[in-house]
Subunit: 254 residues, 2 copies
Amino acid sequence: MNIELDESGLRFRPLRGVGRIEPGDDLAAILDQAAKESGIELRRGVLVVCQKVISKAEGRLVDLCTIEPSDEARRIAEEDEKDPRHVEIVLRETARVVRRGHRVMICETHHGYVCANAGVDLSNAPGDETAILLPVDCDASAKALLNDLEHRGAREIAIVVTDTFGRPWREGLVDMAVGSAGIEPISDHRGESDLAGRELQVTTMATVDQLAAGAGILMVKDSAIPAVFVEGVVPGGRGATRDMLRNPAEDLFR
Amino acid sequence: MNIELDESGLRFRPLRGVGRIEPGDDLAAILDQAAKESGIELRRGVLVVCQKVISKAEGRLVDLCTIEPSDEARRIAEEDEKDPRHVEIVLRETARVVRRGHRVMICETHHGYVCANAGVDLSNAPGDETAILLPVDCDASAKALLNDLEHRGAREIAIVVTDTFGRPWREGLVDMAVGSAGIEPISDHRGESDLAGRELQVTTMATVDQLAAGAGILMVKDSAIPAVFVEGVVPGGRGATRDMLRNPAEDLFR
């Protein structure tokens, strides 16, 4: 099942006024309220939510003061001029280190995502020594948020949870999906024809990543915009973002 | 210089009615006309254009019948079960083969882009044995299109030329920028603060790739939509997409 698109195109609308999220916060209530205050009806569209607010609400925070770095973490931290406690947390979140060099660790997380530092961010609040981890199961987090928003009246929506990743070969970061619910992560156009009756060449598009990237344009400058509602697309499907991870055995870069 | 964003968010609007592009066509005239017929004023926004129509207008087409494959092309074609003439064209467009396996060739093009088959597509028209190459200089193509559209009255716009690329680690394709004009490819937020006065952690965003991906949602299903106008973003800057290519010496995956 693929997404349906409106004729008029897409609108990406920022949810404003979300404020600071704390562990235990009811994120669905907060996002529902922010949508209302932003004049957005959560109906027929995709709500793109940055990972950080979900992780905070779920309490996926680690106080660096509680961490005793392993010998390996100390060794890497010394070589890369990093905080050994941060490296220790990264190693705990890592299933395998894919590459290390230029003071960067590219890690495969236990979920299977390949990204810098296994997705572990350090808080940017001064005096705050907290690490923010990815959710334990980003697809489950998306599904839970979708259910909670539906209980609050949202209809025909999907959730895409995003994080900001670097890429090989290109500078600059882009937002990518790390979790989703209510939408097929990949649109499969194999066997379909274009208007001229020719079979489509481009066959499988990473829809959730395209949505994440478009929404990311609005989420960059201002951490007060952790969610964007995309109108003009009618989601559907039961797939999860983990389904789009490539089998490592078929990956030329692992 | 970074992009400015409107408070209300972004609109991605498809240009309809472009039709089939032939070598020598005046693409600016065709896109200008399609915008008008789609009710779109090319003012204050970013016009995202898929590479294929630019390559066709520029005549970057090769008739496979004219190609005599080299021994290397024949060897690869036999191993990968491909058309040796296609492989020959791919090799001519390639500065270095980055990886080969699973019947895929990941190539660094002479421009410096890393992608499957050096960006060489085969036509999907039945009975048509034509290969479509990337423009010789995609940034120059973007700049020329921008100039031509400005002569036709477009104001405060930028051009992003896109192609559809696979990625390591994830299934599904996304649209990425291969050329641009009138916009900085990367938004640099280093030294800026968020609303709470904290320095932003996410510092350099690949704006042109985020625009390409968002627009790609609309360009997928129907080759009749080769261009999308993005409203809500005021472009600016003089950079080119080639500026965002990572220095191979600093790349962990080359």
